[in-house]
Amino acid sequence: MNHKLTYKPYNEKSILVEWPKVIDEAILNDILQFKAKIEASEGFKIMSLTHAYQSLLIHFKKEIDDFDAIINQLKDIYSSKAEVIQLRQKLWKIPVCYDSSFGIDLEFISKEKNISIEEIIERHSKAIYKVYFIGFLPGFLYLGGLDDMLATARKATPRQQIDKGSVAIGGNQTGVYPSDSPGGWNIIGKTPINFFNVNKSEPCFAKAGDCIQFYQISKEEFNDINTLVAHDVYLIESEVINA
């Protein structure tokens, strides 16, 4: 809680708080702490708190009459010596089938980077990715931690449709398409896991601050897990990482 933050009115009901312009886990943790402190503080009627890499949008229920007064209150909350709130963070293990029938751009990346497909899979599934925030599409996780070797530019012309569950690389990011959607990322595999299910009280199992690790499965295992997921009986492997 020692960053120099800027506070800007965003519209009638919201204030944008910005951290230094870098993507960094320490900043993410600072944002999550501030968010938790705001949620715990009384007196604010908040509709939603949306954060990204280095920003937090605070959306109030009512129009703000006096921005300066609210911003001063927020500054006090940020700098308050309140006890650090212990946020429970999890590591989720996500099965991915990197079969060439799913990973339609594996060969392209392999040629582009001059590394074998096996090495792409190994590097992609070895890393532990940090969930910075969820945006773009419902249930789309912005993950940090892609191996530099795998960074691949987005396609110049996006595909009209990318299947739900597709695991992809775009620039220095990797991610999973939570629903069928157009997209310009390079597809390297597919997961049977549902990243967004409106029938659950928490539609997305992961939250900002959690970690994700991918592991390789065969096409048979993909089909088995797919069936379990379809019947809503598949339990995603996970462990608490900061207990």
Binding site: K8, P9, Y10, N11, E12, S14, L16, E18, K21, V22, I23, M47, S48, L49, T50, H51, A52, Y53, Q54, S55, L56, L57, H59, D65, D66, F133, I134, G135, F136, L137, P138, G139, F140, Y142, P178, S179, F196, V198, P203, C204, K207, A208
Partner: protein
């Protein structure tokens, strides 16, 4: 049930949308012109956020199979019940078998149909607003049936006569706040943005309105950050994009302006070819 005989161009069920699921990437959604939706509900004594039908450009043709009371607001689409012209902004009793049809667009772009008690379509994540991947259907189709409450047998209409000023439908002034990256623009760019008129391009829908004129852009993309309905983004090619109710929750283009809530309603009633100008909203006096 309300039976859909013709769906119109783009018709969907909308209320005030989803306001607290942005942390998992869920768009706000909700009626494009919240003022009109609120008013249609108010005429009937409904809660302001009851689900209404939002019709775009070309309205629907629907048949009621239970009696109810309806109200129409927003765009003027030459509305008729069984071929008899009806007025907007009035509570109108409809009987079983009555057919309500919307005709030629005369003013505005989006019309709203409210029924007594609101449409009883499924609520997902706290809202009935239709959105692909969240609700089962994204739009209303021919043959759909929407349920609503039957009018109580002892029902006696007692509607307050409310004066509704719809001058905003004619307005072309879009009031804005400075966007988060407004100050990064040069003085010339800022002046251009706030003085010249802009034309709405054919790329306009519930997610965003693209403007035809470009602004010379020298700004770098930003680190992906939050956006809201009404955020005006400046793309690398200089295109201006005004995000609307179904927009994504985050974006990476500089945010040069932010529309007021009222301006969003005004813009929602405009379409291809319409000219608008941005005007900075005066700061509130303390």
């Amino acid at each position: 049930m309300l039976k859909v005989l013709h769906a119109g161009f783009y018709t969907s069920v909308q209320d005030f949308g989803r306001n607290n699921h942005q942390y998992i990437g869920v768009p706000f959604s909700g009626a494009m012109d919240k003022k009109a939706a609120t008013f249609a509900n108010a005429i009937l004594g409904n809660n302001p956020n009851e689900a209404v039908l939002e019709m775009t450009m070309l309205g629907a043709k629907v048949q009621f199979n239970q009696p109810t009371v309806v109200a129409i607001s927003g765009a003027d689409m030459d509305t008729k019940i069984n071929n008899t012209k009806i007025l907007r902004y009035k509570a109108i009793v409809v009987n079983s078998g009555d057919v309500l049809s919307f005709g030629k667009l005369k003013q505005g772009f989006r019309a709203y149909l409210a029924v007594l008690g609101g449409f009883k379509t499924p609520t997902v994540l706290g809202s009935k607003s239709m959105y692909a991947t969240i609700t089962e259907n994204q739009i209303i189709k021919k043959g759909d049936a929407l349920s609503y409450n039957t009018i109580p047998s002892n029902y006696r209409p007692s509607f307050a006569s409310i004066k509704f000023n719809d001058d905003y439908l004619k307005s072309s002034t879009i009031e804005v706040f400075k966007g988060a990256e407004f100050d990064l623009l040069s003085k010339e760019q800022q002046e251009q943005l706030l003085s010249q008129p802009f034309t709405i391009s054919k790329d306009n829908n519930r997610m965003a309105y693209q403007l035809a004129e470009t602004l010379e852009n020298t700004l770098e993309p930003i680190i992906t950050s939050a956006v809201l309905p009404g955020t005006v983004q400046l793309t690398p090619s200089g295109k201006l994009i005004v995000l609307m109710r179904d927009c994504q929750t985050t974006g990476g283009y500089p945010r040069v302006l932010q529309l007021t809530e009222e301006a969003l309603n005004i813009l929602a009633q405009k379409f291809t070819g319409a000219s608008v100008s941005f005007k900075l909203k005066a700061k509130k006096k303390k």
